[in-house]
């Protein structure tokens, strides 16, 4: 279990939500507190790891410099470039041999690299938040009755989608097949798959299996909701009851059970992030994030 020193607190969005008079579902105050806590844990974890990765990139350059991999001038040049990416203003004083790093313009967006650095982190987190919201909305009694299954569809267009020859990776059909076989097709429609569609009940273990990268996929994000892998453009679409009956996923008089999901960083995600840090930074991060 990952522990944090911050006391979970309500975000502005949650406070606004609480102030609304009509809700489409009946969330208890306990559930609202749980949302707020999950959001806070995820945000603090992601922010701290982003800072740790930036420190790691600085440490790597200094280590290479001290071990003689770079000459002093080149190492210092690389360090100054990272400094500039981190928002350091060179006009307040670069060492003289760094004069060839172009000065930043006043009030301009000087840190394009750091912006790119956090962009992927932000996009992944944001899509996870979006689908966590979708998962919660899709597990009310009403939604489970009328939309008992999810379909995995491509929502975001990618220049090189998984499965194309240029990507040198397996496509989502193959990943779906591997995950379905791993869970014995429990709650997964083979009939739909024969029609080229990836549809499974909301309570099917296939969603956990996809999130865990069943079939040996190391880029999985370990969540039972999309995105199931880094930079994936696949998303969920709720499948109407009538279609679920047609695809033999549900009997006409049956309802599906809620799927589970948490927005907390998972243990595997935690370990995978830690493995990219050098031993001293990893030890410090473990201390900071310790239970």
């Amino acid at each position: 279990m990952i522990g944090f020193s911050h006391t979970p607190k309500a975000t502005q969005a949650l406070l606004q939500w609480r102030s609304r008079s009509i809700f489409p579902t009946e969330f208890s105050s306990k559930e609202l507190r749980s949302f707020s806590r999950d959001l806070r844990l995820r945000s603090v974890f992601s922010a701290r790891m982003t800072n740790a990765k930036a420190c790691q990139s600085l440490a790597d350059i200094v280590d290479d410099l001290l071990s003689g991999k770079y000459a002093m001038a080149e190492g210092r040049f690389r360090l100054m470039k990272v400094l500039k990416e981190l928002g350091y203003d060179p006009q307040t004083g670069f060492p003289q041999d760094m004069a060839n790093v172009p000065p930043a313009e006043k009030d301009s967006l000087r840190d394009l690299s750091s912006e790119r650095r956090i962009n992927l982190m932000l996009e992944t987190n944001e899509r996870m938040a979006a689908n966590y919201g979708k998962l919660k909305a899709g597990n009310t009694d009403y939604a489970l009755h009328w939309y008992p299954a999810w379909e995995l569809i491509r929502l975001y267009i990618r220049e090189v989608p998984r499965g194309t020859p240029e990507s040198h990776s397996d496509g989502w059909n193959k990943r779906w097949l591997a995950a379905a076989e791993a869970v014995g097709w429990e709650g997964v429609s083979a009939k739909a798959f024969d029609h080229g569609r990836m549809i499974a009940r909301k309570d099917s273990p296939i969603w956990e299996a996809l999130g865990d990268g069943e079939g040996g996929y190391a880029d999985a994000l370990h969540n039972p909701f999309p995105p199931f892998a880094f930079n994936s453009g696949m998303a969920w679409k709720a499948v109407p009851r009538k279609l679920c009956v047609e695809f033999s996923l549900i009997h006409a008089d049956e309802s599906s059970l809620p799927g589970l999901g948490s927005f907390d960083p998972t243990e595997q995600e935690f370990e995978s992030e830690m493995s990219n840090l050098s031993p001293d930074l990893e030890a410090e991060m473990r201390r900071i994030l310790a239970a």
Binding site: N51, A129, I157, M285
Partner: protein, 105 residues
Amino acid sequence: MREIPEHLRRERVRKVAEAMDSFQQSEAIRQAAAAFERDMQPICKALVEALQAGDMEALRGFRSSLPHLLAGVNADPALADILSHLLGKTLLDNYFAEASRQSQV
């Protein structure tokens, strides 16, 4: 209900994807980048001092102080507040969008 023609469906998907791309360039991203910069300022300052000292010993000192500096930065990262607000908004927006879509049976 009438089926949406395939070309219109694709067009709608493309527009959603474009809207997401444009969001990534939005003020929220800039705010997160600025918070990240603010978080990293103590580390930048220590590195500049080491570079200005101009010897390997100073850099060695900087390297060994990195875990300690990181602990200070990560005690209360500004980026966490930005992320918390952004993720909370995204979660609720999608919660209500999905709930509203599913209620239109």
